[in-house]
Structures are given as C-alpha cells and as structure tokens.
Amino acid sequence: MTGEKIIQECRDLLDLLPAQILALAREKHPDVGGFGVFPVYAPVEIIHAAGLLPVGMFGAGDKIELSHADARFQSFICSIAKSTLELFLRDEMKEFEGVVFSSICDVARNLSSLVKRNCPELYVEYLHMPQNMYSAESANYARSEFERFRTNLSKQLNRPIPDEAIRDSLKLYNEVRHHTRRLYAHRKAHPSSIAAADLYAVVQASTRMMPEDFVPMLRELCDAVEASDVKPRDGVRVVVEGAFCEQPPIGLVEVIEASGCLVQDDDMIIGWRLFDDDVVSNGDPLAALSNAYLASSVYTSVRHDYKKPRTDGLIDRMKRSGAEAVLFAPAKFCEPALLDYVLFRQKLEEADVPHLKIEFEEKMWTFESTRTEIETFAESMLFD
C-alpha cells in the first residue's frame, strides 16, 4: 500500500461510529468483542488481551444529532460528554462488552454514572488514575487499579486474562506507540513530510483497529514518510495544545495548516501515546504499566506531577519540536484545558512566546473565523 492509501484508509475510519468500527474489525476477527475507551488514558493492553477491540470513544463528531443527551447535560457541558451519552442512549453500543472511564474531570465522572444508570446491562468501569506519582504506595496502588480492572473484566467475560496475553498485547501496543513516535519525530525534523490532519487521522485510526492489523500498516506508512522527499513549506511552526480529550474536527486541523502554520507537535489523542518509551514487556505486565504511568508519561492536563509541572512540559515540547508559537485548542467548556490555559499563557508570556487560543466543538463545521484568526496570527509572526 502506498502512504496515501494508508492515510486514506485511516481517514475513512474517522467517519465510522463505534458499532461500525466493530463490525469492520469482525470481518477479519469474527469473534472479537468491542470495548469503549473514553479519553484520556486507559490500559488498552488489558482490554486487547481479553480478546476485545479497544475503541477510542471521542464522541460522535457531526455524525449524529443529539436528541436525548442534551436534556441530560446542560448547555455548559462539553460536546464529547453529550454525544458519547447519546451513543449509549441510542443503543449504538449494545454490541459492546463495556466501557471504561477514568478520573480526568468532573464531567467524565458524572458521565460514567449516567451511562451506568441508563444502560444497566452494560459493564461500566471507572479507573481512578493516580494523581500522586511519588507516594511510597503509588506504584502498589496503580498496579492494584489495573488488577481490579483485569479481575472485573475477566468476570464480565467469564474467561481469564493471563499475564502472558497482556505481555503480548503490550508488545503490540509498544509497536504502535513506537511507530507513532517515529512519525512525530520525523515530522519535527521535516515539517511538511506529513500533514497534521493526516497524522491526526493515523493516530485516531490506532484507536479503531486491532493493533495486530494496524502495526504493519503503520510501519509501512512510517517507511514511506521517512523515504519521501517533500519540499519544505514555509509557515509558523506551532505546538497545538489543549485537545487531549474531546477531539477537534479534522477540518480544523486542516485549517491550522492551511492558514500558515506548520504543526510541529500536539497533544491530540495523547492518552493513546502517553509513554515516552516502550513499556517493559517481560515480567509483571501490570507492574510495568503502572510504572510507565507513574514515571514515563508525557505531561497532560489530567495528570498532576509536582516535580514536572506541565508548564515546563509545554516549554520543553516547544523547544524539542523546534516550534516558535503555541496554538491553544481547548474544546469549548473543557474545564481542565481552560484552567490550564491560564498557567500556560503566563509561562509563555514570561518566555516571550507568541500564542493564540482557538476554541472548538466537535460539531463545528465552518472554520472561516478561526481561519482568519490564525492567518492574522501567522502573518503577524512572519512579518514581525
């Protein structure tokens, strides 16, 4: 397959709803079950090792109209919470074995309750991911949380989820993360080698395919991108920050680049590529996962780490990616992102780094005013 073809396949996956994604996976793996993974992070390896396809649940974009969920969630609640609930209320998820949420914010937490109440038959898991990375008990606690998940899931499916299977899944997801890092690294060095929207589609596809099917595609794509000889484009090199949970419409990502920016790095779908190194895949896999979470996670807005403040993380991300500006792209009403913006902004101003905030909603379909804002921002930098 050529690089373009792979990218097109990934882009096509973005148009599917969870039930269609599962149906597609079943063409190749007739017995596979589906399991929803609400952002930001969940140990997908445990889900995959249970013989399931972990499916990233990033709302429903513009693919469904809300007819039930907006009566349950008020106007000031983010879109992803509403459209995700809508999927459950419409029985879209009935083929799924369950769904996992985690302690990212108050909305996601209440959403998990609403799903549970409205779908009493469904297995709804909620993980409390550690926020204290340095207590003497953090590692035990984190491991026990993954163990609890394994036990509950295994009971649910009525089959064991052995260490060996989790180790195998770890190896596969290590490969997914490894090649994803390769793509990101190559893009940093050669900003025009892959369009931001294409890379976004590829990463999103990794949350919608069995890793065993995805790895060969991804590897091929990496090889193709690395081998390609693309003429560098001019543009303001930016880091996109703030879209770690609800995901922007792909049109917005396209507009960012079409308006004179080159995306050097971003935090989109960060939970699926959280670790900056491979997770140890021999020994106790749950301990390996918990160690990775505590010690090797990149910064995100939903993980507190007092030794590594995320404001430093952003500056570091900028430096390492060679970016000269930051585009904040928080989802509308996203409390963690909007609160973080304040400290980020302060830090960037101290460091004299230009920045622009562009809020989005998953249903957004016209980007004209955003385009104008970004263009003006980019021009002001280019001709400064």
Partner: protein, 437 residues
Amino acid sequence: MRTTVSDEKDYRGKIHKLSRDIMTGWMSQLKAATTNPVPSAYLMISGNCVEIMRCFDILPVFPEINALQLAIRKNSLPYIIKSEEIGYASDNCAYVKADIGFTMCGGVGENGTIPKPSMIVCNFVGCNVYIKWFEHCSQMLNVPMVMLDIPFLREEAPTKEDVAYVICQLKELITKCEELTGKKFDIDKLREILKYSVRAEAGWSRAKELCKNHPAPFDAYFDSINMMGPINALRGTKEAADFFDATIKEYENMIADGMGVLDEERFRVVFEGPPPYPYYRNFRNLFEAWGAVAVQSTYSTVGGTWEFGFRHDPDNPLESIAEQMIVHNLCNRSMIERYKQIKTYVDDWNADALVIHSIKSCRLFSAGQGDMREYFTKELGVPTLMVESDLEDPRYYAEAQMKNRIDAFFESLQYKRLRKGEQVEMGKRGAGMKGST
C-alpha cells in the same frame, strides 16, 4: 395563600449568631496570621483531614470559604473579572476565579485578610478542579503543594489498596507537618482532637435527624450553612463540639414547643446543588414565600455525610480519617450514590418535592442533573424543579425568571394537593354512601 415570614425569630438568630461568633474567631486568627505568621495550610473542604493540621497547631485556611464569603457579601464579581483578565474562561468554576482574583489583588498575605500559607495541601477528594485551583495557588504564591490523592469511591466499598494508599499519604503529610513545625507527631493529641470531631459529627447528625419533624426546626439547605462552617473548618475543636451541643438543645426545645423554622410549613423539599451565594437571601425568600422548607440537602454533605452514621474513631485515627476522606462525603461518591442519597432524603424526611439548583461553576454537582430530574420525575414520580444560576458569579442569577419558575412549580404542587384532597374527600363521601346502602 402565602406564609408570612418573620426574620426576627430568635431561633434562627441564635444559631446563626453562635456560628458567626466561632467562625469570626477563626477568621481573626487568619487575619492575625497575615502580619504575625504562624504555620498555616491551605485545604479543601470536601472530605478534609483538618484534624491532622490541628494536631500540629497548623492554622487551616480554606480558599473555598474565602470564595463563599466574597459571594455572600456581594464582593465576588470584581475578583472574577480580574481573573478573567488574565485568561480564566467564563466557563471556569467561579470559586476559583474569585479566590485567585482576590489573591492577585493582595487579599492573601501581609496586607490582606488571609495569610500566605506555609503549605498547600490538596486533599483531592472528588473535585478535579481542586487540583488545578491549588496548582494555581502554589504557582502564584510560590508555596509547595502536597498532593493527597484520594481514590474515588468507584465501587461499593474502597479496596484495601485505596485505604493503604491514603494512609500512606497521610503519614507522608505528617512527616511534612513535622518538618514545617519542628514538632513531633503526637498520636494521643490526635485522638483527643478526634473526640471533639466525634461530638460535632454526632451533633450534626442529630440536627439533621430533627428535620424529620413536622414542622422542621431549621432549613436544612439555607440554615445548614451555619453548621457547615463549624463541621468542616473547625471540626476537632472544643468550640465546634460545644456549638453543636447548643444547636441541638435549641432545636430540640423548638420541637418540644411545636415550633418550626417557618410560621407555617406547607411544603417540604429536598435541595440538590449549591446555593446562589450572591443572592442567598433573595433565593431563600422565593421558597419561604410558599411556606417551603428544605428538610434535607445534598450540598450540606460535601464535607461529610455524617447523618448516615459515620464517626471518626479515636482508637484508629489514621484509618478513620482515610475512611472519611474516601467514603463518607458527597464529593467522592458517584451520581448514582447521590441519587440514592436523595431518594433516602425524600422518603425518610418525608419530602413533597426535589429542587435542583443547577450551577454553571460546579460541574461536579451539575453535570448530568438533567438525568437526575428525569429519574426523579419519571421513574420515582417525585415532583422536581430544576433552576439554574451560579454559586459565585452574580451575572447568572435572573431573579424574575427564577421567581416565575418557582412560583409555577409550587402553584402546580398546590393544585395537585388540592385535587388530591378533593379526591380523598370524594372517596370518603363515596365510601360513606356505600356504607349507608
């Protein structure tokens, strides 16, 4: 027909005044500490471990109480706007914005009313905004933050690892307190402090219980705030324990005299969600005008759900502190658990209706309250009113609209009651006729 409300009733004044006195005592300590520094710590309200601070004579400081007071004194808006100028969004929790704005304007530190804390203890109990809020304070004030990560109560009971994780963090906090104060941890002192906590908790619980009476001796939403300061901020002190003894005495006397908080109690409601502090009195009047009294409220249990029986255990100090933080407070429990709590309130406190005050600032409370309304009206048949405003930001309170909604709701409740009364009457007459043939 509307009930007239006399503001001057002694009972409301007395408990309110007692509460104000002991809270003012604590606030003067805060003020004094701005110029004569003593070890102090920021803490959050929900499921807090104030007893540990007390054990080291560390002055507890609660930014949430600061925000609340700014709002109730109608001072919050300028600070909220100040925060928005540096980048806070209109959609962010306004408690954070008011407190941060106040800090930026010099309210914290030497020239303010609140001391700059020696440490910032983030008891992350339920609300994720807590983490951000204290990260911001830590950065702005350049004071180290200690994270106390409390696992959410995601199953019926905490796991043994949850408990071990929390106890371990409490011990680590104790070490930090030792370093800060130079004092050695004295477990016997903690036990004594916890005994005072237990007295206050028992008092709280009894007071809430007394609202099962008809008429209720106090409003368990609007008047609970008098008890929330002492139980959440001053717990573990003799003053707080004595305050609850006096409160109980007062309310028990009222019950003996057949007195209620209202001249005529016509509707008993359960309240869900925080109140609109900037319009506290106005909002209360809208309910009192209908003779509606809150016999229970969820908001009053953010710090602890003492009325369901939990007490700290002086024999097992750290274990019981951990248990309270994980299990026995509203914030660390799921919406499903909150539905159960409300249902118990409606049933056992004999309420006619549920009132949901949905507020924009606090998604912990509000996200999903539409589903709550659905559940209570459609599945349980409990008349439910949902109104919206904010707990801190006065811009979201629309009095006329609020009044219309509340009046319409009680009118319909009243109408239903009349119809029911007529039907009962007719039923009685019908039964009588039948008997006579």
